[in-house]
Amino acid sequence: MPLCSFFIHKVIMTYQFKHMTVLLVESTRAMADLTKSILMTFGVTDIHTAFSMKEGFEKFRALEPDLVIIDWLQEPDNGLELTRRIRSDKQSPNPFTPIILMTGYSQIKRVLMARDSGITEFLVKPFTARALYQRIEQIIEMPRYFVVSDKYFGPDRRRKRDSNYAGTDRRADRQPEPYSSPERIKATLSAAEKAREILRKHTQDSSKET
């Protein structure tokens, strides 16, 4: 590649959002339309919407989106339960899928509830276009490790590592209540097994390509 072409390529290179599929699960059509239009301005073209947990999970299974944006939703629908299904349900096609929870709740107890359900990023509404973009960029550039344990399966919930921590086992200090039932533990372990399978398959595919 000639030097000038290399520089031009470097200058104009941007995220190719047209290659990604987004599933938006919102409680109101107006909010879904607004979020959709922002994503379209970013360059995302393949955007699907759902307005309930059931519809959201069905579309998630059918579309296998690269990113899911979820609202907290109204009981008995629940954005956190949808997150748990994506992470733990046997029918979930990809339990690693990044999930952004967009909600008007900002109290710490809600943030912790959302974090313990397995979300990847939390975005408080009202939000700005930049804030939404930053969450997506974070997912692309700084993906989180996944934690597999008998009580939790999902993105590593620790953002910061405290070098002054003096305990014996950082993970043993909390037991998220939603994962305490035997059914939940069973589902978590099955999701973890599925995650390993996907990982194995991905590794095999990558080695074939190379």
Binding site: M13, T14, A30, G104, A129, Y145, F146, A166, T168
Partner: protein
């Protein structure tokens, strides 16, 4: 590191860390997005012409229903609080997005109040009703933006009402 620093903390489970494939990165590549695109998206957000009235009225109806259920005893405790918090949270989330930041501010005060009250009683419900009426008034008078002096007074009055409630509950 010594194991007896926190002797009460028992090792309860083994955790494994795995690094999943970054499918998104593989698809979208690198480079971020242009600053102009972000500005354009923000302008689009700020200039949207979506009519907030039907959304707000639907959420206010939910709030009114929840207040009525709490008053009649059809919903109790956490269930009643949850039924009131949800529409308040949605009003907070969506007000600013559709040009009613004052609705967001008032709802934010209400959500914070409802998230911290310990029991549901007549005083709490009166404060919820006051917030609901304030939101209705803002919508009826099409008070977009922060509401200026009126908005400031409204916010202060509602915060004072919540403050009075907390002070009345403080142990003497």
């Amino acid at each position: 590191m010594s194991d007896d620093i926190f002797p009460q903390q028992q090792k309860v489970r083994h955790a494994e860390l795995i690094s999943p494939p970054n499918r998104l990165k593989e698809k979208v590549g690198s480079g971020g997005i242009d600053e102009n695109v972000l500005q354009k998206a923000q302008e689009l957000l700020e200039r949207n012409t979506i009519n907030f009235d039907p959304i707000a009225n639907m959420l206010l109806d939910l709030l009114v229903e929840a207040i009525a259920d709490a008053k009649s005893g059809a919903l109790k405790g956490e269930d009643a609080l949850g039924a009131m918090i949800y529409p308040a949270m949605q009003l907070k989330a969506q007000g600013t997005m559709f040009h009613y930041p004052l609705v967001s501010d008032i709802s934010h005060i209400l959500v914070n109040f409802l998230e911290t009250v310990e029991d549901l009683n007549r005083d709490v419900l009166d404060i919820v009703v006051a917030h609901k009426m304030a939101i209705k008034a803002v919508l009826a008078s099409q008070l977009k933006g922060d509401g200026g002096k009126t908005g400031k007074e409204l916010r202060e009055a509602l915060m004072e009402a919540c403050g009075r409630y907390y002070r009345s509950k403080k142990p003497q």
